[in-house]
Symmetry: C2
Subunit: 297 residues, 2 copies
Amino acid sequence: MTKAEGGKRIDLSATDRIAVVAGSGRLPVNVADCLADAGHAPFIVLIDGETDPGTSLWGYEGKALAIEQFASLVQLLRRERITHLVLAGGISRRPVWRAIRPSVPLFRILPRALAGLARGDDGLLRTLVSLIEDNGIKVVGAHQVVPDLLATEGRIGAHAPQDGDWADLRAGLEAARAIGALDIGQAAVAIGGRAIALEGIEGTDLLLERVRDLRTNGRIAGRKRGVLVKCAKPGQEMRADLPTIGPATVDAAHAAGLAGIGVEAGRSFVLDVGDVVERADRLGLFVVGVTGERGNT
Amino acid sequence: MTKAEGGKRIDLSATDRIAVVAGSGRLPVNVADCLADAGHAPFIVLIDGETDPGTSLWGYEGKALAIEQFASLVQLLRRERITHLVLAGGISRRPVWRAIRPSVPLFRILPRALAGLARGDDGLLRTLVSLIEDNGIKVVGAHQVVPDLLATEGRIGAHAPQDGDWADLRAGLEAARAIGALDIGQAAVAIGGRAIALEGIEGTDLLLERVRDLRTNGRIAGRKRGVLVKCAKPGQEMRADLPTIGPATVDAAHAAGLAGIGVEAGRSFVLDVGDVVERADRLGLFVVGVTGERGNT
């Protein structure tokens, strides 16, 4: 599948028609709006119970699908003459198997779907992707069609890291890479030149909540500054799970008493970048795109 | 300083006299009782506000010292004709500098103490250790004088890992080693063959509390079994911070819904091993000493 090194930018032509399978969170909203701004208003596959309500996603051409109707996704995309598909956002709910109705599309993909299922959720997703691609539709990474969402190198916003923050950025990046290599998490918090908290399955929100608690209950009370670092894992599958930060990350980092955020340039998304910059500037946090083995900009 | 590979067993002779600086927790209690059982009843340096009250430590010959009196430790040890010293247990409080009274011992060590202090808490500790050793007293690791406290290879207690638990033990060990190499933590929790939570500065208790919460709030609800793995970091300073488990670890692992605990054989302490076995057997948890690059027993 497309690796970090592979996923080159794709220039959509006037005849291309792109669809976005919109899971939860701000990524699908950012992807759709960016595509529309570039003159490629997307077709949105809204997933029941996953796509966030009340966003611009509901204003585009599209169709709502229950997660149990995954077998009919290929038919839908063919009917709409889709040429490129982006999978964006989280899908947290698993199909309720007894809610799946027998159908021709289902029976057609069943053998492969079952084989994929035996390999876990990830296996099912990969099976779906290969089914879609067998029908001549390219499954592409969000970064390939809306590269503007990727973190750029260097300062993002008004504030820059202080000299002393670079030790934290390096320690955080080193730790985030190490746990990424083991496919455990994408984020680390470093304070005083040392990684002190690592992201597991709990996610970045709970990681930052933990750091906030550690600030108040004494373990790291009195220690100033510190950073959150997020980076992609080595060999990251760029079509899913690319690290993201957004305005809520800035708020949570601030609540955790951190001085700033480092994100891997070119391999992480900064969502709602206008709001990110506005909040970071107002709260006095830096946001910086880092790269290279040593976390230099 | 003594590395994991170095710290060989020391056979105390009848003329040797050993002292234990007793910080918090069960380790100093286990060390003192083991030494007494072997016929080397220790002299205990009780640290105000750190040594746990109501333990057997208070029944040995000894003297209470405030953390601010660290400068007089060398004099005390010389007066008691101590030949070997073990530092055991946690020291969480830092000296209150205005509570330190000027004294001859203090002025004698001040230049080196200040230099050590400039390198942080760890630097101060190392300075103290070298001061003590300059006075002909050997600072030794607990494992060197009471090797019986070390985890042994294989099953500890009645229950053994099931076949499927070995993938968790390997994943947990791999993750704990990776974060140990970066000097971040010593423990990891793995479920379903994947590390899902990593220990940072918060410690093992809060790590297990987090896993318990993740079981109940849905992130890993429905996933059975799983293990806690603790191991020493590569190049571990064996005279401090060797990983430990005890009865409370068994209780917390059980509360987190885990099937068992893996500890690095020969480089971790199992404290109050009788209670550990009794609780693990009763709760149905396995405790196993693991070793080798692949976590095989």
